[in-house]
Symmetry: D2
Subunit: 347 residues, 4 copies
């Protein structure tokens, strides 16, 4: 159980700390004032308004759910008829790391190989054209992650092409934005939240990995996907009795630029880590474009670092190991410096 183990620092993910103090203070400040239940409260309403303003879409629906798997399963099962399927990159979170959550709602995931964690329009079209008759599922949604599982980002050109491909093929586009904060604040990505809203049918903005205790904001842009979404949330256990708890946190994140400030910090720490690994002569398994770095290390070096820091091995490549180092809104610069110094010692 990882609770017992000491580490100089945990680089294993971006959810190892509770929440940013501004978020916690907002919760404490609310005290015991009363509010409406199940997300029909003033905090959630204001948070929704802040997001609608930010994406410049006053008609968008904003719903708050507790986590990413929940967002994925509620959104996808709300769209698909029983015989319809979702297209995703093969390493996509929904395919590998959600314990069959989408299949548990009855739907198949059709996967494409992708490049650096990102799916290509040609792959989408190939999948559509293979599914020709009633003996096969009908792909109806494309699921992508921004940033991707490989820590890369879709550019405006790339997302525009995928969006067009979806429209041409009668597919909805759903963007998992668990790390969209890091993506749009990384410098590698020329897409704003508003651009994202304009190019997708539904997406979500991750709070869990960017300073909140927990919570994701599902944003529904396409009118035809709005009907009865709260019913679907309730059915899946996604409608918190005190929905205000998430609304209040998103209000804090989207006031005074906190959301972007936290993401920028995570990206800066990742950049420093990436530069450090490169300077030390190590290749990166994927381009560093958000808040995750995938250096390829001699397995002996990786092993020594594991004694001091927590992080995941990503792929074994003969004598080398590609590892995943994640920086977060809370990562202190000294932790980065420590890791790079220890790395220098081992090299």
């Amino acid at each position: 159980m990882s609770g017992d183990r000491f580490y100089k620092y945990r680089f294993e993910n971006d959810y190892s700390e509770l929440a940013h103090p501004d978020v916690l203070n907002a919760l404490s400040a609310a005290g015991t004032s009363q509010f409406g239940s199940y997300g029909l409260d003033e905090y959630s309403i204001r948070a929704g308004d802040l997001i609608r303003r930010r994406i410049d879409n006053p008609a968008a629906e904003v719903h708050f759910v507790s986590g990413g798997t929940m967002a994925n399963l509620v959104v996808l099962s709300s769209i698909l008829r029983p015989h319809e399927a979702v297209i995703a990159p093969g390493g996509g979170h929904i395919f590998v790391h959600e314990t069959g959550a989408i299949e548990a709602t009855g739907h198949k995931i059709c996967t494409a190989r992708g490049v650096n964690g990102k799916i290509l329009p040609d792959e989408i079209e190939a999948i559509v054209s293979e599914h020709t008759d009633e003996h096969m599922v009908v792909p109806r949604v494309v699921y992508i992650s921004q940033a991707s599982e490989a820590g890369t980002v879709y550019t405006k050109t790339e997302l525009t092409e995928i969006s067009r491909c979806c429209r041409n093929n009668g597919l909805y586009l759903f963007l998992d934005g668990a790390r969209i904060g890091a993506a749009i604040n990384s410098g590698a990505c020329d897409l704003s939240l508003a651009d994202t809203a304009g190019l997708t049918d539904v997406f979500y903005i991750g709070g869990t990995k960017n300073g909140a205790l927990f919570g994701e904001a599902v944003v529904i842009c396409n009118e035809s996907l709005k009907a009865d979404f709260r019913h679907l949330m309730k059915q899946r256990g996604a409608l918190l009795a005190k929905g205000a708890v998430i609304g209040l946190q998103f209000e804090a994140l989207f006031s005074d630029g906190l959301f972007d400030r936290l993401a920028k910090h995570a990206c800066a720490m990742a950049r420093k880590l990436a530069d450090g690994f490169s300077s030390a002569g190590y290749d990166l398994h994927y381009p560093m474009e958000a808040n995750m770095v995938f250096p390829v290390l001699p397995s002996g070096v990786a092993k020594k670092l594991h004694d001091l820091y927590s992080f995941h091995d990503w792929e074994y490549l003969g004598d080398l190991t590609a590892v995943r180092i994640v920086a977060s809104w809370a990562t202190p610069e000294y932790a980065v410096d420590d890791l790079l110094a220890d790395l220098a010692d081992y090299t």
Copy 2:
């Protein structure tokens, strides 16, 4: 949208306030220290230990989930094979107010009429004996709520009989304890948490309705129901990345008697309300045994109260309306006094 409306006080439920200050302080105190993910953190471990000690069952498994519907659907779908069903009282939360959450996992709910919101062993046996062949589902679990939806409580004698009935009929017993704090602290109930654990196969302890931001502690007592429960949680979106957020709250609730203290307050306020309604000459639709009062008022009186206080109409009975008034850990005594004073004015 109820967010906009002013009320002197909301008596509509026991989740209209964020959380008790001790809970919020515990969150703030955790600061940015790092912890293991997905519930494998020191807070959750300590909270589990506190609960295991409290129920005197060191082998019990404790899992934290975000809310009651989630607890219900994960637990039930983890137990049942596809053709198996759950027996519940007709007014049970899972049958009426969870948007078909259990059916969405593939299972039928067989309902009994019950008395004052509580199911009777005879009813359970009748349902079992009606389901005789392969053209009908096989009942496998009995679901009850403590306190019930009618605000009543099962006594030790009653729960023991239901428990025995379940064992005799090859049924598991699952107790929804969203309001178990109020139940065991009401004075009307002679069951402790330890008694409850001893008489059920799995139950949960509600935090959402007793001082936490959110969160329920699922306690699995029966060895045969423990396998792979975390897998099932993950699949349904119940495994929070920062599981520590709930663990930490339950650690606060089960330290220094906070959990019981809060519940006792809710019950005391409900008792004062019940006595007030009775003194004013109104019948109670159900016996007042936890933190909910169901006075039967002339509909005109109910209507006037609705202008000042939020609460639900429960049942229309000719010119009378049975209403539901809920007291919580946060209900100030002055709000109770105000309501009773206004009632006196209307009578």
Copy 3:
């Protein structure tokens, strides 16, 4: 196991004999000629055309499935979004006798009490008006059986009112016609197949209980319910590789009036039984309107008849037992005479 037991005659259902000789001959005549697979064959096409002509709706889609439970689950799951539900009479086949088949596709069944097995428009409206918010399912389809489980039939007036009620409330109307042959040929019903098609959104015509080896013809009248129905059939295992087997049988049933001739015989035998029971002084539990008779017998008399004939006890009423006696297309008149003679002996 009922395979071993001798009976003078089985009155337990209308599927105790294989198939009418004309149906078996049609199968034999097809020999080893080749045909297209999965229902895309000339027999199925001709059978579909015969049905479309009969209901006077050239645009109707006709699909053949193997049985009633399959028809019910494919049709309902094709229509409903996850949070939507079906309204049915409480004794409806889908609620009691299909082992949770509809719930297994994720959907709740909302039941009404009904009168003589038939649901009333007022009951439908009451259910709709109770389901007001996102904590409850959304009723979207009404399911009725013609003839009903009680052997009664909806008249044109009754079906027209239900149909109007559905349209006014945004509900689809799905009619289970496992016994529609008996219903429309009973004399008690003034509805033709064409009338039925005009008043429902989708219905099916039962072959299993009216002379076929097996098979039901699902008829989709409402344009918006036609999309991808074959995909949905395939997914549920309803698309037989040799769909021609069912098409061919329906071609035989709908040529030369066989379908109606067989149903008329069943109804005539039921009428004779009903008259016999009445003459002998027994009440009927439900009006006799199709091919099922529900006489109320002293339990001792029922017991003696059970020694010689197979039939189901329907309801125990003190010292009396309402039993269900079913006549089929194959019931010989001598069997009816025998039973009535034996009854006379016991009385």
Copy 4:
């Protein structure tokens, strides 16, 4: 619609003809004698006994269902808990050609590449060892087809190794025997039905593709998989009211060696086709081991053959096309001769 098109002969599958005359005669001979419903009839009981004797396992349970997709989905959903998954070869029928039937019951399919359509024990172990924690599904069943989708067969050595691998890894082994008749009668396979029963936990014997109108016999060998199987069948619409229709056909198939005789004929015709293609200088895409031949033809030749015969293109390989030619119990030798003669003309 393929119903309209003329072909000299259909080689597209092994279910283009209705049924063998002996099967049809058995149906006709049953006349209007009465029998028990839902598979509890003398025909089904005798057919089950014939199969139990054939596999030398008196305790095996035998259930008759209408088709292969149905067999697959009922069996798999009866075994798996919600978070459990099935391992299958990537080209397996359940993964590609059943419109997500398994996912519709809530379960993920984990695929392996396989060799010539057959999965390898190493691949099974690799999949098991990748699924390590609660963020991933738990593989619990291995699904294989005998013969495989590539028309190849598992030998006794191969099946024994897979069986041992399953036991070592806590996996059940389920064998789809839609074409097991052809497999065991092909000469390429040294496994009997009894061997198959001994090495698997559950398998089925295909009737649809070997002379029956329709129907598969599910054989459950493992005691722990027998509970409530008829409930599960009923729930999925697999329990035919006149189950006797399938039992009677299997009784005919397993009397007087009909089942094997028909399969042998199909294999002999496939052998003649394979030899003909080889003699004409064409490679076979997979070894010819049952009743399907996959010659690799110049695409122009394939196109010309398509004008006269129906068959499927399997894979496009530059200027070549691997096609699938299927022989059945009904394929007349002259049709094989015709095709080979036409082939000679085109070459």
